[in-house]
């Protein structure tokens, strides 16, 4: 009877699964009871009440307004804001640089191809954290003091204190005008999109496009000139006044992250373009398209479908990689979590928040990229 039961396939598979599930549940239960005992022994109270208390620690720079009298909850949100901010900027610039690197590596120009190959090999074979620490060390020990700051472009200063850029401030009415100009420009762009084909067919494409660009640029210039207050950094006393400051931490983080990520993105883009058969290029040339048009109108749209899946995982790992910013002291979520644990001892909740936030971000990005992937695939179906 019993051996008969053991020979039964379905019984065996179900029994095995139940044992597995039971073992997993027992493991979780064991960990939970241990934790409860440990917390009791150390007198730590678990709960999210501490989030409402005053944080009392500074955050050196943030996108969202923050001061030490804000709550722990707001400190976390500020850290998250910084994480999202640096992720977006790093992804934007590394995609741009990666595109250049990827195209340069396929170039027939020997110097360009070789240089880009050296860049990719060097950047990819070193850990990101070494990149970050190197650039941070460069920014904090090798740059000159503010008085002898490098001045590569008018109004741009690079020194031990960080990178200073000119900024534009707007007062109340200026802001309204700026907003109105933006809306007008957007409408003009939409209209242009509608009429573009007709204009090109009439043979007026280039002059009209050039005129539009000149018009928009002069509109922006006039608006900034009349209503904005351009502030350029100036040496006053021991430091710069005015302008817009990017801290050494932020600058080093961005340079390191963008260089590292763009090497990977460059390889993804190169791989995608390489996967498109040479016949596509040749057919495009035979039809009389320029090299640029073959790339942008024929090869790139097809390569994009190959590029998107690996690009998704690259973007995701870039977001996860921003946690390394805590090595150079840029206050993103990881650093805030570390500080809060030091201050309150609420390790369980803080790490829980960190993990939950990153899981959510990961899922959100992969959902968005899946949607985008489907969107691109749809074009093929037409």
């Amino acid at each position: 009877m019993l051996t008969g039961l053991l020979d039964n396939r379905r019984f065996r598979s179900w029994a095995g699964q139940i044992v597995l599930l039971g073992g997993f549940a027992a493991l979780i239960l064991w960990l939970v009871t241990n934790t409860i005992e440990n917390l009791d022994a150390r007198g730590i109270k678990v709960g999210f009440d501490f989030l409402q208390r005053q944080a009392n620690f500074p955050i050196s720079e943030s996108v969202l307004p923050y001061n030490p009298s804000d709550s722990f909850l707001w400190a976390y949100i500020t850290g998250l804001g910084n994480t999202i901010f640096i992720s977006l900027i790093a992804i934007f610039f590394s995609t741009l640089l990666g595109l250049i690197v990827g195209l340069a590596r396929r170039s027939r120009h020997p110097l360009t191809a070789y240089l880009s190959g050296v860049f990719v090999t060097t950047a990819r074979n070193m850990p990101l954290i070494v990149h970050l620490l190197f650039w941070y060390a460069l920014a904090t020990t090798m740059l000159p003091a503010p008085r002898q700051a490098y001045n590569p472009l008018p109004g741009v200063y690079l020194s031990l204190r960080g990178l200073y850029l000119p900024s534009v401030g707007f007062n109340g009415s200026g802001l309204a005008i700026l907003l109105a100009t933006t809306v007008v420009c957007l409408l003009a762009y939409l209209l242009w999109n509608r009429l573009r084909d007709r204009v090109y067919r009439a043979g007026l494409g280039r002059p009209v496009a050039a005129a539009l660009i000149v018009l928009i640029l002069s509109a922006v210039y006039i608006v900034v000139r009349t209503t904005g207050e351009v502030s350029t950094p100036e040496m006053r006393g021991f430091n710069f006044a005015g302008g817009f400051r990017l801290s050494s931490e932020f600058t080093a983080l961005m340079v390191g992250l963008v260089i590292y990520t763009s090497a990977f993105i460059g390889e993804i883009i190169r791989g995608g373009i390489d996967a498109i058969s040479a016949g596509q290029w040749e057919a495009g040339r035979a039809v009389g398209l320029s090299e640029r048009h073959v790339l942008t109108k024929i090869v790139m749209p097809q390569a994009l479908r190959i590029i998107i899946p690996p690009m998704t995982s690259q973007y995701l790992s870039t977001i996860k990689n921003t946690t390394l910013a805590l090595a150079v002291g840029y206050p993103e979520l990881g650093l805030v979590v570390g500080t809060v644990i030091n201050q309150t001892g609420q390790a369980l909740e803080s790490i829980g928040i960190l993990l939950a936030v990153f899981l959510t971000l990961s899922i959100a990005v992969s959902l968005f990229m899946n949607w985008y992937n489907a969107h691109v695939a749809l074009v093929e179906a037409r």
Binding site: S13, N125, P127, V130, L133, F134, G338, L348, S362, I363
Partner: protein, 365 residues
């Protein structure tokens, strides 16, 4: 007019050989047209901008010095690397005992060289690796055969980096195989558990896992258990490696045609034997080149342990540069450490390319 056309027509038809490939001279490649010239000038400027850096690193650099404080006069202070070489490589390991980590690294190099050729792979090599790893750990720890004991808190530098990479991959691999098999299983419970584990770990940054290991693990285990920091970090790296390896192995499992398992089933072979002797060997063969990529990732990721205060090579380089006798040569220190990482990773990636060419030429064994 018509004669000329007829003539040219016959000329074309008789010389129908493929057009000669135009050999471009170097000058045409660099200055052939407007785009090429622009690119040449642009890259030229880019290369020129490296001249000051080279100047700093070579011509103005100080290679030997007697007075550390005057080391950096407009150039790099490589004398610092020479002076701190032992510290960066071996960390705080007792100086008189540093032959032990040196021997460990030599053993590791020997084993890696011995395992390079796919022809030697097999059960024997695997057992040899197991024995060597045990010997390496014993050498590091001491306390046997008259070796003085060295606690893991005193270990440091390159051996820690290499051991963490090797052990996390080695320990993670069996878990990875189980997770990959679980994810491909037709039974719901193992499949869901495997998916949950893999996606959870892959969705988290490694820094988060290291936080869990270094801060939460002591809370999760019974009060009496104390695991040292190095082991906790290793646990986090192992879990991380297992999840990433599992996805690679899953790719290999998907590449084995289902006919293989079906044929074995038809012959009445028990299912565990089908997996162990038929499916897994073929799947693992397929994924060896991508596995080397995961190896590179893990070697680079061991540097993150700096964040939780484990003394690997990068931490040693950072601590060495804090010596007040020297003019804060962080940049030189990081360049040196980066160079070592580069050599390791570049070596592995070239090896992977060579393996891939082997795959294209013939299958293993």
């Amino acid at each position: 007019m018509t004669v000329v056309q007829a003539n040219s027509f016959t000329t074309i038809s008789t010389t129908a050989a493929p057009p000669k490939r135009r050999r471009r001279s170097f000058v045409t490649l660099l200055f052939g047209d407007l785009t090429a010239s622009c690119l040449t000038v642009l890259t030229g400027f880019l290369l020129l901008s490296f001249v000051p850096a080279l100047n700093w690193a070579i011509i103005d650099a100080t290679w030997v010095t007697t007075d550390p404080s005057t080391c950096r006069q407009g150039g790099a202070c490589w004398a610092f690397i020479l002076a701190k070489f032992r510290f960066i490589i071996f960390g705080t390991y007792p100086p008189d005992e540093q032959w032990r980590p040196l021997l460990v690294m030599a053993l590791m190099l020997l084993m890696v060289l011995a395992s390079l050729s796919p022809r030697l792979w097999g059960m024997k090599l695997l057992c040899a690796w197991g024995a060597v790893i045990t010997a390496m750990l014993l050498l590091m720890w001491g306390g046997v055969m008259g070796l003085s004991p060295v606690p893991s808190s005193a270990w440091g530098g390159l051996p820690v980096t290499l051991l963490l990479a090797l052990l996390s991959l080695g320990l993670g691999f069996p878990f990875a195989v189980m997770l990959a098999l679980g994810r491909r299983s037709i039974l719901p419970v193992p499949r869901l558990l495997a998916i949950l584990t893999i996606e959870l770990v892959r969705g988290l940054p490694l820094v988060g896992l290291l936080f869990v290991a270094s801060i939460l693990l002591p809370l999760l285990l019974p009060a009496g258990w104390s695991i040292d920091k190095l082991a906790r970090t290793l646990a986090a790296l192992t879990v991380f490696a297992a999840a990433y390896l599992a996805e690679v192995i899953r790719g290999g499992l998907q590449g084995v045609s289902p006919g293989q398992a079906e044929a074995a089933k038809a012959l009445g072979i028990p299912s565990w034997k089908i997996i162990w002797h038929i499916v897994l060997p073929q799947a693992l063969q397929k994924v060896i080149p991508p596995l080397t990529n995961t190896t590179i990732v893990m070697v680079k990721n061991t540097s993150l342990v700096l964040i939780v205060g484990v003394f690997d090579m990068l931490s040693a380089g950072r601590v060495a540069a804090t010596d007040p006798q020297w003019p804060a040569p962080y940049v030189e220190s990081y360049i040196f450490v980066a160079g070592i990482y580069f050599l390791i990773c570049f070596g592995i990636s070239n090896y992977s390319r060579w393996l891939e060419s082997c795959v294209q030429a013939r299958s293993y064994r």
